[in-house]
């Protein structure tokens, strides 16, 4: 009998070791993150290919279930950094067709909790900022290939998602992403000679915070050339419109000569966004978060969660939190053409907006996780009562072992089973800067230095259109 109890102990420990030993998404991405930090996006893509269970960057997984859609986003980012916009665009487009997103407005708390703890078995659901950045980065891909029609398709896809999230009141959390996406959409329309479309997108970029004086001059000139009148109820935009009217009309040919022909738009992607790691959130802190998000938790669930916390049966909640551990700090990119340094006309602090975006949805997620935990803790308590009854009647070592198992069901196994979902788009840049310069048509060398590492591009500058350059290798 004693031997049987020992076996049960061993079984418990084995179960816990196995459950705790399962690597999370963030764990699996560590190698790719390190390769990218080392300036080796090709090696990072190879690491992703192993997870996608394919041999080459051109291969696609058979199905896009579980993590696969997200892994395609990661590989697309790495291929863009490695200078393969065609491969990157393909991965982004496929992921875009299949990617669901995290909709907090119409989702029940138990469904959210299931997403949170279902690990890689459930399809990944992207938060709002990731959906918008996907189309933004794909605009860059198409413009790098000089396929401005394709870039405008991405711009329109961006707009659909933007209106969806703005309707859902998520827009204010990501002004940088919205400004950048609208600005690049404006560039793609400008390159396709759709001046009114360009003015509409640029006006939105201005509205969401892109306020550089050089950009202001360009937008006023575009309003003068097109007669565009902002539809947005935004005082600063109306001010630009008044300025354009006072200055009088401008011929489109003059606008083109000044702002399009021989102009280069340089995009520099720098740093890496915070990723998620599983942490043990003290139960008291979790309750505080939940109390601010009571919409996602019934009164009964909240009361029971408090009781469980006070009883000391549970001390923490396994939850995914953002971390910058092991990531490089943001460098100050030094961009130049022919030795002349350029100043940015805009930037998006993606890392900050990832934090803000996660903070906005983590409260409801904690509330739903607590609800789930309470239901399971109550089930665990019932098991403990059964074990106590068995012990009273048998007084045996076996009953003690059952008691141990029941206790673990509450304090250990449940925690081990609750592996929080640490999935997120980890290879995104923490910051994207935009530079714009008019140059002599012909071949020029652009360089971007980030923390002492310099990347160079030899660029054929178009005489009668915009030229796009991207730097995202060195983070």
């Amino acid at each position: 009998m004693r031997l049987r109890a020992q076996n049960l102990w061993a079984l418990c420990l084995l179960v816990l070791v196995v459950l705790n030993g399962c690597a999370t998404y963030s764990d699996n991405m560590r190698e790719a993150r390190q390769d990218l930090q080392a300036g080796q996006p090709d090696a990072a893509a190879t690491s992703i290919n192993k997870q996608l269970e394919v041999d080459q960057n051109t291969d696609l997984p058979g199905a896009l279930d579980g993590d696969k859609g997200l892994l395609l986003l990661e590989r697309g980012t790495l291929l863009q950094a490695a200078g393969d916009p065609k491969g990157s665009a393909r991965d982004f487009m496929i992921a875009d067709q299949r990617l669901d997103w995290l909709d907090m407005s119409s989702t029940a708390a138990d469904t959210m909790a299931n997403w949170l703890y279902s690990g890689s078995s459930a399809n990944y659901r992207a938060p709002a900022y990731e959906r918008l950045i996907l189309n933004t980065l794909n605009m860059v891909n198409f413009m790098l290939m000089r396929d401005f029609s394709g870039a405008r398709v991405e711009a329109r896809r961006f707009t659909i998602m933007e209106s969806y999230f703005l309707d859902d009141d998520e827009g204010p959390a990501m002004p940088g992403v919205l400004a950048l996406g609208n600005y690049l959409a404006g560039v793609s329309y400008e390159a396709g000679r759709d001046w009114n479309g360009a003015a509409r997108y640029y006006a939105r970029a201005w509205r969401f915070g892109m306020r550089d004086p050089v950009f202001r001059t360009q937008l006023v000139d575009l309003m003068r050339a097109t007669g565009y009148k902002p539809v947005e109820d935004d005082a600063s935009l109306q001010e630009l419109h008044v300025q354009a009217q006072l200055m009088g009309s401008l011929r489109l040919a003059e606008y083109r000569a000044t702002h399009i022909d021989g102009v280069v738009v340089v995009i520099v992607q720098n740093g890496m966004v915070p990723y998620k790691e599983a942490v043990r959130l003290p139960i008291g802190l979790a309750l505080t978060y939940a109390s601010n998000n009571r919409r996602y938790m019934s009164d009964d669930d909240y009361r029971q969660a408090n009781e469980v916390a006070v009883s000391g049966a549970l001390k923490w909640l396994n939850f995914p939190m953002l971390t910058w551990n092991g990531l490089p700090g943001l460098g100050e990119p030094d961009v130049s053409i022919g030795g002349s340094r350029l100043d940015p006309i805009g930037s998006a602090d993606i890392g900050r907006e990832v934090e803000v975006g996660w903070a906005r949805i983590s409260g409801p997620l904690i509330a739903s996780a607590l609800t789930r935990m309470v239901a399971r803790a109550i089930a665990g308590t019932a098991s403990r009562e059964i074990a106590r009854a068995a012990s009273d009647s048998q007084g045996s070592a076996a009953a003690s072992a059952i008691g141990i198992l029941a206790q673990l069901a509450v304090e250990g196994t449940m925690t081990a089973l609750d592996k929080p979902d640490t999935r997120s788009w980890t290879t995104l840049p923490a910051e994207i800067r935009v530079f714009r310069i008019k140059s002599e048509p012909g071949r020029s060398v652009f360089s971007a230095s980030v923390r002492g590492r310099t990347d160079q591009r030899t660029v054929d500058i178009a005489e009668q259109n915009l030229t796009i350059v991207n730097f995202s290798r060195y983070r």
């Binding site: 669901d100 000089r146 029609s149 398709v153």
Partner: protein, 197 residues
């Protein structure tokens, strides 16, 4: 040993693994809706509706009368503009050849082969919006020696609610007189595709 191999092969076939097929093996292959993008069946539907109207239009009858007097007009085909939120440029390019074939076979016009004008077509695609500016049209017309352009655009109204999507496609087809920029024929056809749960 042979028996073991047979069982293994039978199991492999019976596992429900995806397999490649052609339309002769799976007659309904073209009937399935695989995505929200326009497929050949969609394009055929949109095109046929527009083309039927165009070939019955007054301008095509005018071309027949002109041809009868020995003055068959020269007609060029411009790329159709993709103003949708889906990547359907390659499908629209495929449609160009179809329009060209039908114009050659069903109208009295002399048709400029778009494959012989790759640089100009590429330029038109790059500067799509401006290409439809009347002054630009005259310039392109001179380069091609064309009196008329057949062209069009596809645009959409796309919506997403939760995980459901709907894309309503509209295809315009136009015949434009190069000298004046006047639209001599225009028709619109529509269809919708969706992802519903």
């Amino acid at each position: 040993m042979k028996k073991w191999m047979f069982v293994a092969a039978a199991l492999a076939v019976g596992c429900g693994e995806p397999q490649y097929v052609r339309d002769t093996e799976e007659p309904n292959l073209d009937e399935y809706t695989m995505s929200l993008r326009l497929d050949r069946k969609d394009l055929d539907r949109l095109y046929v509706e527009n083309a039927d109207k165009m070939f019955a239009s007054n301008i095509v009858k005018q071309w027949e009368r002109d041809a009868a007097t020995g003055k068959a007009p020269v007609v060029a085909i411009f790329p159709m503009r993709n103003e949708t939120s889906e990547h359907i440029d390659s499908q629209l390019d495929a449609l160009l050849s179809k329009i060209e074939t039908d114009l050659v076979n069903q109208s009295a016009a002399d048709v400029v082969s778009h494959e012989n004008q790759p640089d100009l077509i590429a330029e038109v695609k790059r500067q799509q919006s401006e290409a439809y500016d009347p002054s630009r049209l005259a310039e392109y017309g001179r380069q091609l020696g064309a009196q008329y352009f057949v062209t069009g655009k596809v645009y959409d109204s796309a919506e997403r609610i939760d995980d459901e999507r709907r894309v309503q496609y509209f295809m315009f087809m136009q015949v434009i007189e190069v000298a004046t920029g006047a639209i001599k024929f225009q028709n619109e056809a529509a269809l919708s595709k969706g992802l519903i749960k």
